[in-house]
């Protein structure tokens, strides 16, 4: 864009060679975020954001502090100091029933092998547990059972008062990377390449103790599992480092669908230089999932894919949505998808039904659609088949948010206040709808006028 500044224009050319990144000009009429507020409080990478209520959120990261913010004004409400090392997990915690005041609580785990329960209204440390053998990497609250679980190298079960109820044996040195709850008092833990299903045994007449039992190991993934989410009542989905996505039945833990040739480089591709460039394994790792009623959205490498659960196929994709790995995605109510990436940008996409078949040839499958150049070259590809298999939808870029100078780790969407992004550049940015903010300011102005009694002319 500023080629004349940099001179020679070498750089943009290089970029163009590297990727056919979809770009949008400076004119983004559909992008509502025309106001931003930079929030500074952290001294290191900010990795986690969690919404506390309609207008508050907490942020945490490698500097070990947790900051509570007002999402409307960007005001820093509290700074929670207690951890000595980076925060590894952050989760909101249901209020203690014993406690009269219904303050918002959060549970944080840190690399200093402690877990602290915080009161976000007062900034007080409610409880602190420091009896861990390993860093807790994930936390999950099972509200139904009034317990919470922490996953590190082993899995521990705690009650609301932070008493240890029971724990598993040492599972792995790499530790549990993800933890979800499934029906029948079971949880699924992703440990390395395998999924382990545990069942929690609540105290009964026979035994007063809680117990946790290993039920089943699922070994279908070829590589480390990076992401796992509950999609709906019947299934959950996991994604691995090499691009396998498996949809599991939530009740009998069987594989419902598998897209696992994602990592498999097709032989033709090897011949193509530019494709080889982006053929590094981490380019196809699945970092994050999000879902709605019909679709699962996957952040695969630099790309975004929309997988329809009914049709069991990819209905839309954007192979190179970002310059670098997509780290977090979220679906907004209005058919919009937001993604953030290591390249420091946040992009807003809209899932659109395709009116007609795109003139541009589209890859046929989820996992063998390498290469932008390939299709052109393979003119022999049957047109008919292409049409049949063409994704019926497309992801259109409607706007991008550029503000962070380093990887955007996560974001949080507020219906009323806009978008909060956190980044490795230590900053949190509050993106707001400028028009709405302007209206709000006017409202505030006239409220203040009225308070001061200046609104009406004295006659």
């Amino acid at each position: 864009m500023l080629r004349w500044l940099i001179g020679g224009g070498r750089e943009p050319q290089g970029l163009a060679e590297k990727s056919p990144l979809q770009t949008i000009g400076e004119e983004q009429t559909q992008n509502p975020y025309t106001e931003l507020l930079v929030l500074k409080a952290h001294h290191d990478i900010v990795r986690f954001l969690v919404q506390l209520d309609e207008c508050r959120f907490a942020s945490a990261g490698d500097d070990g502090i947790i900051v509570v913010w007002n999402a409307q004004t960007g005001e820093k409400l509290l700074e929670l100091n207690g951890h000595t090392q980076k925060i590894t997990a952050l989760i909101t915690f249901p209020s203690l029933e014993a406690c009269e005041e219904k303050n918002q609580l959060i549970l944080t785990a840190s690399a200093d092998r402690t877990v602290i329960l915080w009161d976000c209204d007062t900034g007080r440390q409610v409880r602190k547990v420091s009896s861990f053998q390993s860093t807790v990497k994930c936390l999950i609250v099972l509200q139904r059972l009034d317990i919470w679980l922490s996953g590190g190298n082993d899995l521990c079960v705690w009650n609301q008062k932070l008493d240890l109820l029971c724990k598993t044996s040492h599972l792995s040195d790499t530790g549990i990377s993800a933890l979800i709850e499934i029906p029948k008092n079971c949880v699924v833990a992703a440990v390395g390449k395998e999924l382990i299903i545990f069942r929690l045994v609540a105290p009964t007449e026979e035994s007063v103790e809680w117990d946790i039992l290993e039920i089943k190991h699922l070994l279908d993934h070829q590589d480390n599992i990076l992401s796992m989410v509950n999609v709906n009542d019947v299934s959950f989905v996991t994604g691995s480092h090499v691009g396998e996505m498996i949809i599991w039945d939530i009740l009998d833990w069987s594989v419902q669908a598998c897209e696992c040739n994602f990592w498999d480089p097709s032989p033709q591709l090897d011949t193509q230089q530019e494709i080889k460039l982006c053929q590094k394994p981490n380019d196809i790792s699945i970092h994050h999932f999000t879902w709605d009623e019909e679709n699962v959205f996957a952040a695969v490498g630099r790309g975004l894919y929309v997988y329809n659960l009914q049709m069991k196929r990819v209905i839309a994709c954007q192979k190179s949505a970002h310059d670098s790995n997509v780290l977090h995605i979220a679906k907004l109510p209005n058919r919009q998808l937001i993604s953030c990436s290591e390249d420091g940008s946040v992009r807003i996409w809209e899932l659109r039904e395709k009116q007609q078949l795109a003139a541009e040839p589209v890859p046929t499958g989820f996992f063998n659609m390498w290469g932008f150049g390939r299709v052109n070259k393979q003119a022999s590809q049957p047109v008919k088949k292409q049409q049949e298999n063409a994704p019926p939808c497309s992801l259109e870029l409607i706007g991008d948010l550029i503000g962070h100078s380093s990887s955007v780790e996560m974001f949080l969407y507020f219906e009323d206040h806009g978008l909060v992004t956190c980044s490795a550049d230590h900053l949190i940015i509050l993106w707001k709808n400028g028009e709405r903010e302007s209206g709000l300011r006017s409202l505030k102005l006239f409220q203040k006028l009225e308070e001061n009694g200046d609104l009406y002319l004295d006659i």
């Binding site: 864009m1 500023l2 004349w4 500044l5 940099i6 750089e11 000009g25 400076e26 004119e27 983004q28 009429t29 992008n31 025309t34 106001e35 931003l36 507020l37 930079v38 500074k40 004004t73 960007g74 706007g399 550029i402 503000g403 962070h404 100078s405 900053l427 940015i429 707001k432 400028g434 903010e437 302007s438 209206g439 300011r441 006017s442 409202l443 505030k444 102005l445 006239f446 203040k448 006028l449 001061n452 200046d454 609104l455 009406y456 002319l457």
Partner: protein, 937 residues
Amino acid sequence: MISAPDVVAFTKEEEYEEEPYNEPPLPEEYSVPLFPFASQGANPWSKLSGAKFSRDFILISEFSEQVGPQPLLTIPNDTKVFGTFDLNYFSLRIMSVDYQASFVGHPPGSAYPKLNFVEDSKVVLGDSKEGAFAYVHHLTLYDLEARGFVRPFCMAYISADQHKIMQQFQELSAEFSKASECLKTGNRKAFAGELEKKLKDLDYTRTVLHTETEIQKKANDKGFYSSQAIEKANELASVEKSIIEHQDLLKQIRSYPHRKLKGSAPCPGESEHTQDQASQAAATSNLDESADTDLYTCRPAYTPKLIKAKSTKCFDKKLKTLEELCDTEYFTQTLAQLSHIEHMFRGDLCYLLTSQIDRALLKQQHITNFLFEDFVEVDDRVAEKQESAPPRPGPGRPPSRSLEECPIPQVLISVGSYKSSVESVPIKMEQELGDEEYKEVEVTEMSSLDPQENLDYLDMDMKGSISSGESIEVLGTEKSAAVLPKSDSQASLTVPLSPQVVRSKAVSHRTISEDSIEVLSTCPSEALIPDDFKASYPSAINEEESYADDSDGAIHFRASVSPPELGEAEEGSLETPPSQIDTSCCIGKESDSLRVPLSPPAHMPLDQDGVVSIPPQRYRQKDQGFHVDFALENANPSRDDSSEGFPADELDPDRLLASRDVSKTSLDTCSDTASNMSSVTSTSSDRTPASAHSSGSSSERHKKRAGQNALKFIRQYPFAHPAIYSLLSGRTLVVLGEDEAIVRKLVTALSIFVPNHSRYAKPVKHWVCSPLHITDFQKWKLIGLQRVASPAGTSSLHALSRYSRYTSVLDLDNKALRCPLYRGALVPRLADHRTQIKRGSTYYLHVQTVLTELCSKAFLYTFCHHLHLPAHDQETPDVVAGRQASFLKLTLGLVNEDVKVVQHLAELLKLRYTQEAPGTGRPTLRFDYVPSFLYKI
């Protein structure tokens, strides 16, 4: 910022240090006869060239009991300033008009000497021979060794411009009162110390004498007293008496502040407001008091000495210097105040008036003026806030006057006495300082300027003021101070005619001190002089006026200017036909405050309106063709709700356009030449019109340079418009260049277009070497960025390219600009590359004028309720948005991108208004997703 461009032309921008402009000499044959006073470096239009001094200065003189009137010091202390002007002679002149009874000693019926806390007197006098006019402030300081314990001093502001002194009388009086108060406070402190020492001496002497007497008594057993013993006893008695006297004096001087306060209490007929006044006085003299209380306490140990029975006669001893009299600390403080005064009134009258009007108008715009005004105003405003905390005295007080809230000794006059003062007037006034009256005087002095309340004092404060020699014209006295607050709005003139005001209780007795003295004008008397006398007045005042008439066109211009100006400001509405709406408004208001309703209530404007409508009137007289009604334009926005009732012409685009044209033409015609002519009334070296507020000449210089460079930028770069648009609409402009000096210069120049976010910091960063970050764009709206050729430098360019959507980039080295398109009408007006304006300061003021208008628009837009909120529940946001758009387009007459400018300013206004405390609001970065274009030369 409000100054109209035509007035702008009258300002001068040369520094006072600079040499007057010298033309290359003409060949002999073309040369015209030299202007008689040219040798003094004066320009031929200057009426003042007769003056023997080069510019205004302050002179402090003393009426020494040993040598008579003598000059003590001048400010500035530079012989160049007063040149050949005879200070001794002038000291004699100014000291000789000190009529006040500095009466100390044994008043009849009092056993002990009594100190009078004499009020200062303020007189304007002129000496046509010397070409000097002076505001003279007399004060009395106490000195134990002086005759009658008093030393009369005076401070005089000497200027060659009579009108300047007359019109700035109020301000001068207020400022000099501060200086005088400072001197007197220090003096009281020193005097008390002196008394204490004296008392100790006396005490010691008494002890010594006592023991001597005792010894004599013992030694003498003859049963009768020797003459020696009697002498000793007498001596002892006189020492005792002296002790009592001095103790009394000490008590008096110590009781000063309290007395001052108590004074108002028992005043008959004033009981309702005395409380007010007392508290006000207490408030204002708070500092004084706290200082005073500890003034007289701890003294360093002092070894008493014996006092001889016969004190030496005073002629052979050296009198204390002013510094000794006043305590060094206070003395330096006073000097500082005086040089502040000298700065404050530097420049010609036009300039002073304009800047006063300017400030008055600015105050009306307290909601919007943070956007483009300088921060200097802040102190002013803060100070004013404090000052205006006591209830505002009359509804009709012009805001410009409210600056001078300090307790100015205040005197009102009766018609009768002034009439008499027209003929040869008794000058020497014997003050009867009975206790009661004394107190009354005190009250007036402290009282607020409420005309009503002071009516009761109209006459008793009539102190004549007159000089001795025939060449001295007493032009104004203290009374003018009292009436000026009103006379400024030209309405007070009617006041004296009202029966209520006419008082017969003239307490002052006057005596003629010398032969007939021409009392040429005293401001209030002016107001009180009936028509028939008035007619003869102008010619009586100054020969210079007629002189001016004979000269060439420039002077003609001036001459045509002056009568209305004088008429408005001095002669007043006796000659003003009631049909003039503005004036009648003022009259109505003024007289209302005096319970003389002269105009129908329909004419009564809102307070602010009326108030502001006055000062501009003065300058409007100067250019009949220029009739933008600033009063309305600027006063209105300052009202908190102007959603209704803004004047039609404000909203009429044609009118705005018209005013624009007028301003343009007026600029074109009188940009440079006129500013030379403007020196008409000022002394030639008075070239620095240091702004009347304390901004000092550095900021003036700064403005001038910024204006000059901005002008250069506009002429040099064809794409100046989009760049300026970027600044106005809040899009950060990055000025990229290798040479720091050039970048800094341009950034400074362009910063005049950058709206402030708050009063405290301009969002401008002059020079950055590191890559920019998103927070920089949030904080700064104008950034100078270093271009580095090395690879390290590319990172900053990459950052720039990454954030290109938030910035406009001006590349000085490549002469290129990348920024959004601009197609509005506003910026071309603001920055016309074909403008005739040549001077930086003129251009600066032009910019400020346009921006003020813009601020008004933004204000209207921001504070119109229905533009932002639905009128009723059913209204959709779309309807509101439509209304907004049509308001901006049709009512405010904004085209295309101009809308965004106003919207941006509106956001800033909202943000600022809703902020709880100033400075707490966090700036958000607002931006648009609009395409940018590349402009290149």
